[in-house]
């Protein structure tokens, strides 16, 4: 006891960090003591944290990333996007021949892998007709390459056979392995290996043959040894034979050198293919600039296109611009969502405040009983409640019938209460009302009745006492309720979907449409990201104006 006291006295007299009884700095001692506590706290929340990360945060992050992700154009048309970069989109002319050749190569590989339709759907979000254009081109692209294939095969039957191509391009070691391999044995097919020097001698052929070999062996799982090459290989072969590396062919002495020499000699006289003309023949759109502009605009891996789309804008040669008036929908939809959410929040305040007041001022027993009535809607399915509103509000529904019966409304001018904004606001106010009443009630409960008495004793009338003294103290409850109701309503989906009709739907209904019907997930993600940003922005504004400390959900 006295020892500890001495130690404490000593340390307090020292300059520098305060030391604990055992001489370690007090801060470190304290940290060590707290670490255990923190660790156990972390362990307690860890399961939930991991669960939320895996099932909630990660999917949302992934989904939001889709709003800018645009890998598909670059991945499917790598050569086209590369060559297209040099094209001057403002010239009003279609790109040069190399771009069409690159398109042929990309599209050929894409159609073999059946990727071109997906790209078509993607580009169709930006340019109507792109989907069918790509589907059509996928079918036609085979014919383009056959021009060279036929000529090589006519020259020498040698070029017809896949095994001959393998003999030319494959390494000796691989050829030995593959000739002994049979699919039926269940062994893994020996992966294709390029003969040394071929990448320099026939660069394009080698490149595409490698892709072909990979596709056959891994995607189709056929025996490459027996497989006849794509038409694409022949056009690449022709390019190599007439290209800058053709001169080296004479010095080549490996397998099939005789046939190679013969082909090299004959190739310059071959009939050539005008890729541009060929594509224009498949679809005349290839001979116009819009599709090229679109491909180019969407060639980067990341795009702001979805976001532009989500705010009714589009890409143009002069940068982003607004869409024509008749194509704008999202701005209106966002504004409508905000406006209706505000309407719902305000009606919830107006309806909920008096109820919360009554509840807070009743004896606890009665208040609890009435509270059950407030909470009752929570025990009923949301769908049931919404459908009930449908029954209530429709033109031949309960409310209209009653009004007609009472003579307030003429039979031929029944009120349109559903499938419009009114319907959505009525139904959602009812559904979200408990979220307003509960925080209001719990805040009002903490305001002692003596405040009102004090105000009255000081000379304030009932109204002044309420407005100047009670109301300001219930503002935190209004704040909490409003945030809850507003944020819930701005993202609400089911109720507007059922009672909203066309004019009473929210942005979330559009998001759902893009997720499940149009499958434009990028746009859905962009709309969702904007919605999230708007909510966070409003939350921030609210914090600035009211102060989030002033929000109370109770005590």
């Amino acid at each position: 006891m006295s020892d500890t006291a001495d130690a404490t006295n000593d340390t307090s007299e020292q300059a520098g960090p305060v030391l604990a009884a055992d001489g370690t700095p007090l801060k470190r001692s304290l940290n060590r003591a707290l670490r255990r506590q923190k660790l156990s706290a972390l362990l307690l929340i860890a399961p939930l944290l991991i669960f939320i990360l895996v099932t909630f945060i990660a999917p949302i992050a992934d989904m939001l990333f889709r709003s800018v992700e645009n890998q598909i154009v670059q991945d499917t048309l790598p050569r086209t996007t590369q060559t297209l970069a040099e094209w001057d989109s403002e010239s009003g002319e279609t790109p040069g021949a190399p771009v069409y050749k690159a398109l042929y190569e990309d599209l050929f590989i894409a159609q073999e892998r059946k990727l071109h339709t997906r790209l078509g759907s993607r580009l169709n979000y930006e340019l109507t007709g792109a989907s069918s254009l790509f589907r059509k081109s996928g079918r036609g692209v085979d014919d383009i390459g056959e021009v060279y294939q036929d000529q090589f095969e006519d020259l020498n039957d040698f070029w017809k056979k896949g095994e001959n191509w393998n003999a030319l391009l494959g390494s000796d070691a691989w050829l030995t392995e593959i000739s002994g391999w049979k699919k039926s044995t269940g062994d893994v097919q020996p992966p294709f290996e390029m003969r040394e020097g071929m990448a320099e001698l026939l660069p394009e052929t080698a490149e595409y043959y490698a892709i072909f070999a990979d596709f056959v062996q891994n995607d189709d799982e056929d025996n490459l040894y027996k497989e006849d090459p794509w038409a694409l290989i022949y056009s690449a072969f022709y390019d190599d034979l007439t290209g800058p590396t053709a001169a080296q062919i004479a010095s080549y002495t490996g397998p099939a050198s005789a046939e190679l020499g013969e082909a090299a000699a004959a190739a310059p006289a071959f009939e050539t293919v005008d890729y541009k003309a060929a594509f224009s023949e498949i679809d005349k759109d290839w001979g116009k600039t819009p599709i090229w502009g679109t491909i180019r605009a969407y060639s980067p891996a990341l795009t702001n296109g979805y976001f532009l789309n989500a705010v009714d804008m589009q890409k143009s040669p002069d940068g982003p611009e607004f869409r024509p008036d008749n194509e704008r929908i999202y701005g209106t939809l966002f504004l409508r969502t905000l406006f209706m959410s505000i309407c719902i929040t305000v009606s919830c305040i107006l309806l909920g405040y008096p109820v919360a007041w009554i509840l807070a001022n009743l004896p606890a027993r009665t208040a609890n009983l009435l509270m059950i009535l407030v909470l009752l809607p929570f025990w009923t399915s949301l769908l049931v409640r919404t459908s009930a509103w449908k029954v209530m509000l429709q033109q031949q529904g309960v409310i209209n019938d009653t009004l007609v019966w009472l003579g307030i409304v003429a039979d031929d001018s029944r009120l349109a209460l559903i499938n419009n904004q009114t319907g959505t606001i009525i139904a959602m106010t009812h559904i979200l009302l408990p979220f307003m009443i509960l925080p209001l009630y719990s805040v009002m409960q903490t305001v002692p009745p003596s405040y009102l008495r004090a105000a009255k004793s000081l000379g304030a009338t009932n109204w002044t006492a309420f407005w100047r003294v009670y109301f300001p103290q219930s503002v935190p409850g209004i704040g909490a309720g409003s945030i809850l109701v507003f944020i819930l309503s701005i993202g609400y989906y089911i109720t507007p979907e059922i009672v909203g009709g066309t004019t009473g739907t929210f942005i979330s209904n559009r998001i759902a449409y893009h997720i499940s019907s149009s499958l434009n997930w990028g746009l859905a993600a962009a709309l969702g990201a904007i919605l999230l940003a708007v909510v966070l922005g409003l939350y921030w504004t609210y914090d600035k104006i009211v102060g989030i400390d002033n929000v109370k959900l109770g005590g």
Binding site: R453, A454, L458, G459, Q473
Partner: protein, 366 residues
């Protein structure tokens, strides 16, 4: 009982009754009148009806029956905000969303007093309670004592003639309470205001008030200045409730002139002053204040009545000694002696003889 005869009455309760449930009366036939400038305390255990009386006076509760008059006019039907009565609450009831100065300005604002005059009055009121530098603070930034000062200033700022205080010092610690007790009485006398003060703390009641009304069971048991209340309790409840008291139970055997004889249940016959015993044979409780009991024969006054006693416990309390004795069958007989140089310190087990004067010994109702 209650005094209703005053003609210069400022606050009057006349035959006031109050019931919340229609079955039980919380306040039973209350008659009370107080002159202007009086500091009256309503003292009583919780549930005795004292706060209800205050709330009826303030207008937050309505009397079930009877008349409450302020300055001669019946206020039964006047709403609280028109009564012009200042009020201090137990939990201070300072508006948390307003600064101290705004709190004080509130009653002036609702009375539509101009801004400059308002500011002046707020300043005076704050200075009066030594809170002049705190006008810009929020109530939450003040200590309990400071909040109570502000609440007091707010109740006084609109210059009411009557101020009600509902256990205003209940939540404060002892030392602060004593300081504020002094300040409140001082202010009340200085400003000449009439104060009705509710408390369950008898020390507070005795030290602050001009008169104290002791409430019990919906009735005023005694209404008297503090000294009379302490020294001449009119019934055994008041005797028990105010200060420390020794009670001996017995039967009156004889009443003659100013004294009566009481045969104690635990044995012994003592002389006492009859207060509310009227005839022989009646049961009675005899009340003697601990400090009026003497055991030192030298100091015992002439004619003092004596009884045998055994010392059970001796407690040293600094300024006084508190000794518990067994007297006439009761183990709870307390005597208090001053800590003087020549004072004897009794030891447990000691047999002594105690005595008192007959007039200090009051025979009350059983």
């Amino acid at each position: 009982m209650a005094d209703t005869s005053a003609t210069n009455a400022f606050v009057e309760f006349e035959r006031v009754q109050k019931s919340y449930d229609g079955e039980n009366l919380v306040v039973k036939d209350l008659n009370l009148s107080m002159p202007k400038g009086e500091f009256l305390t309503m003292l009583g255990p919780s549930g005795s009806g004292k706060t209800t009386c205050l709330m009826m006076l303030a207008g937050f509760e309505t009397a079930t029956h009877g008349d409450i008059r302020l300055d001669g006019k019946s206020i039964n039907n006047i709403p609280p905000h028109k009564r012009g009565i200042g009020m201090v609450f137990q939990n201070y009831a300072l508006f948390p969303h307003m600064t101290v100065a705004e709190n004080l300005a509130f009653p002036l604002e609702v009375r539509k007093i101009g801004k400059s005059e308002r500011e002046e009055k707020v300043k005076i009121a704050l200075d009066r309670v030594q809170m002049g530098d705190f006008g810009g603070r929020r109530p939450a930034q003040l200590s309990g004592g400071q909040q109570q000062r502000v609440a007091l200033a707010r109740a006084l700022v609109f210059e009411p003639e009557l101020v009600l205080m509902d256990e205003p010092l209940g939540a404060l610690d002892k030392q602060l309470r004593e300081t504020l007790q002094f300040e409140i009485t001082h202010l009340a006398h200085e400003l000449g205001i009439t104060v009705v003060y509710v408390t369950h703390d008898q020390t507070e009641a005795l030290t602050m008030s001009d008169r104290v009304a002791v409430f019990e069971n919906g009735r005023i048991q005694q209404l008297a200045p503090p000294d009379l209340l302490y020294e001449e309790p009119e019934n055994s409840f008041v005797a028990q409730f105010i200060g420390e008291n020794n009670t001996l139970e017995g039967v009156v055997t004889e009443i003659k002139g100013g004294t009566c004889l009481v045969q104690l249940d635990g044995g012994g016959l003592i002389e006492a002053k009859p207060i509310n015993v009227t005839r022989a044979g009646e049961r009675t409780r005899v009340s003697i204040r601990p400090e009026r009991v003497e055991f030192n024969k030298d100091r015992m006054q002439e004619g003092a009545h004596t009884l045998k006693a055994e010392v059970l416990e001796f407690v040293y309390m600094g300024d006084i000694f508190r000794t518990r004795l067994r007297v006439a069958g009761t183990d709870n007989f307390i005597i208090k002696t001053r800590n003087a140089p020549d004072q004897v310190r009794l030891k447990p087990g000691q047999q002594i003889e105690i005595g008192w004067l007959a007039e200090d010994c009051r025979a009350l109702d059983a």
